[in-house]
């Protein structure tokens, strides 16, 4: 099993990002994803900065992948994705079909990110022919679904031709909108956001009127309220999963990584879940009877 650090989904100041990757360089992660995937207004780091970090990480023996934006609307955003695809040195993670389009034309291998809608073996076959070498599955897929898809891949002879990665820790990216919810929570429009996401390095928690944590607002992205944590499910990934992805959080990411690498089993805390992996509602951890049993207040 290999371990990866996903792209940082939050908007952090440049110094915090650099500090994070200094630590990542020394960490047990073999694979590191870099880049802004959520909002094109987040420009604390430019492409040249990401490339510099990528080179430094590669020098330390890490496999580095440049992750690209998910929701592309403006032509300028498209142009930016194209520049990443044409970087000529590092592998790229495509999170929109526009990136797949550039990469297939450039005839360079790519990673199909979790925001691409890939739900079956035949779609994997199409993308494989276009250069996909690794697939990070959609976050809502379960172990059983993954196993069905891979056994079908086996039947058509493609199972061993790509790697499988699973988002295994962190707040799950669940949805993308034209609207910025962080700006809205400050009663601002997106055009007038004043980059307020910088004030929320963990996003903003939204809870029900009964105090149940439901989701995290992260700009135009809506994340799961609970952190996904598959640490106790590592054993069930054997034979299915090649790479376990840890999504960076503002605190404890490297401790979590160490726990995963050494398979230190834990009891999930009240704000963690593994529901999707077990094909139940994403916010319901396996074994919990009812979601409202987890009301916090």
């Amino acid at each position: 099993m290999q371990y990866s650090l996903g792209p940082i989904l939050y908007f952090w100041p440049k110094a915090q990002v650099e500090q994070f990757y200094d630590k990542a360089a020394q960490s047990e992660a073999q694979i590191i994803y870099l880049g802004e995937t959520v909002c094109s207004k987040r420009r604390q780091l430019k492409m040249v900065d990401y490339i510099a970090i990528a080179k430094a990480l590669a020098d330390k023996g890490k496999e580095v992948i440049l992750s690209t934006m998910t929701l592309l609307e403006a032509p300028s955003e498209l142009a930016q994705v194209r520049k990443y695809c044409e970087n000529g040195e590092f592998l790229v993670e495509a999170n929109d079909m526009a990136a797949v389009n550039y990469l297939r034309k450039l005839k360079v291998p790519f990673v199909a990110g979790p925001a691409l809608n890939i739900y079956n073996h035949k779609t994997l076959d199409i993308l494989l022919k276009q250069g996909m070498k690794r697939w990070c599955m959609p976050v809502e897929l379960s172990k059983d679904k993954l196993s069905e898809i891979l056994s079908k891949c086996d039947a058509i002879g493609i199972k061993d031709r790509f790697e499988v990665e699973v988002f295994s820790y962190g707040h799950l990216p669940l949805a993308y909108s034209a609207r910025c919810f962080t700006a809205r929570s400050e009663n601002r429009a997106k055009d007038d956001c004043e980059l307020c996401c910088l004030n929320y390095p963990r996003g903003r928690v939204a809870s029900s009127q009964e105090g149940q944590t439901l989701f995290v607002l992260n700009g135009i992205q809506t994340m799961s309220g609970y952190r996904y944590n598959l640490i106790n499910d590592l054993k069930t990934m054997e034979g299915l999963v090649d790479i376990v992805r840890i999504s960076p959080e503002a605190t404890s990411t490297f401790e979590v990584l160490t726990n995963f690498v050494h398979a230190n089993l834990i009891s999930l805390s009240a704000d963690e879940t593994n529901g999707y992996w077990h094909q139940i509602a994403g916010l319901t951890p396996l074994g919990a009877n009812q979601t409202h049993s987890r009301v916090m207040s």
């Binding site: 809608n117 898809i149 029900s208």
Partner: protein, 332 residues
């Protein structure tokens, strides 16, 4: 400009055609389409009747096969494409790449429209689907501003279809797992969002509460109008120090009537009305209003000229409250 209306059953289908739809879109009676609701959609026999009804009147029928195919049951999506093709329908609305690929190879003459569930929001993604699967039209996700729709129209030669009226998805369609996070069932995998089987309404002490799989979505005072409990339209607290508010969106619906002159100018090919789950009376009324508006509108018209149609539509909208959604930059 084509007026494309929804139908969840044959009666709505006929209402749509009789009241001025140029084309009607429907789904089969299974989870191959994104409105997989009990009592809704078409058996093959009903579909055959619908095709004749439309074609006898020189109108079109589109079939939505727009969920993502499950690996174990992939043939179900294949059979849906085969059934649609055998009935000589006018267009297939598809999201899954493997289903697009099958349809394009097996039925090269069958027109393919890229479903909104495929989340193609930009020229790069559109080019991908055009070149790989010969897609003729794209249904644009409700995340673009009118300016962005205009930009797209300039740089692509694909037909553009936009949502004009109906329920408002505030997330990029096909890129929203909120429903499965709460209920285990999602639009992509199961063709449902916030499924009715998981909805609970309770009334106590004069307050009405709505829950989705036991999670409190909203709580209403007697004077407040209650909305269907999708997670994106509930009232929540942010950072637990605020009064609960519609953190994502109010229970409003989309109405782009005031943009009609602009949509003409841009050269949008089709206007889509949402609502296969709505009643035939609703389909009839909405179709009639939009037919009149399209017939009388031109690119030179002023918004004030649209007042009458606007009034007629208001009464048909969720919470009687409508928005331009992402088309209008300030909504974002």
């Amino acid at each position: 400009m084509e007026l494309l209306c929804p139908a969840g059953n044959l009666s709505s289908f006929k209402m749509a055609i009789d009241n001025g739809a140029d084309a009607v879109y429907v789904g089969l009676k299974n989870d191959t389409n994104a409105r997989h609701f009990a009592g809704l959609n078409f058996t093959e026999e009903r579909l055959e009747e619908a095709v004749s009804y439309a074609h006898d009147r020189s109108k079109k029928i589109h079939i939505a096969i727009n969920t993502y195919a499950h690996a174990e049951q992939w043939d179900k999506w294949k059979f849906a494409v085969d059934a649609a093709a055998a009935l000589n329908i006018d267009a297939l609305i598809v999201a899954d790449m493997s289903v697009l690929s099958y349809a394009a190879e097996r039925y090269p003459d069958l027109e393919l429209h890229l479903s909104v569930q495929a989340s193609a929001t930009n020229a790069g993604a559109i080019e991908y689907y055009q070149e790989c699967f010969n897609v003729k039209r794209i249904v644009l996700p409700r995340v673009l501003s009118i300016h962005q729709v205009k930009q797209l129209a300039r740089c692509t030669n694909i037909e553009l279809e936009v949502f004009a009226f109906g329920s408002l998805c505030i997330m990029a369609e096909g890129r929203c797992h909120l429903s499965s996070y709460l209920t285990g069932e999602s639009p992509n995998m199961n063709g449902v969002c916030s499924p009715a089987s998981h909805v609970q309404w309770q009334e106590s002490d004069g307050r009405l509460t709505s829950r989705l799989n036991n999670v409190l979505i909203d709580s209403y005072q007697p004077h407040e109008q209650a909305g269907y409990p999708t997670l994106c339209k509930g009232r929540f607290q942010v950072d637990s120090n605020t009064k609960a508010f519609h953190a994502l969106e109010e229970p409003t619906s989309l109405n782009t009537l005031s943009l009609l002159p602009e949509l003409f100018k841009i050269g949008v090919n089709a206007l889509k009305i949402e609502g296969r789950q709505r009643s035939s009376a609703y389909v009839k009324q909405v179709t009639r209003v939009w037919r009149d508006a399209i017939d009388h509108c031109s690119s030179s018209m002023h918004v004030n000229d649209l007042h009458d149609w606007e009034k007629r539509l208001e009464s048909l909208s969720e919470g009687s409250c409508t928005t331009l959604g992402a088309y209008h930059k300030s909504w974002q």
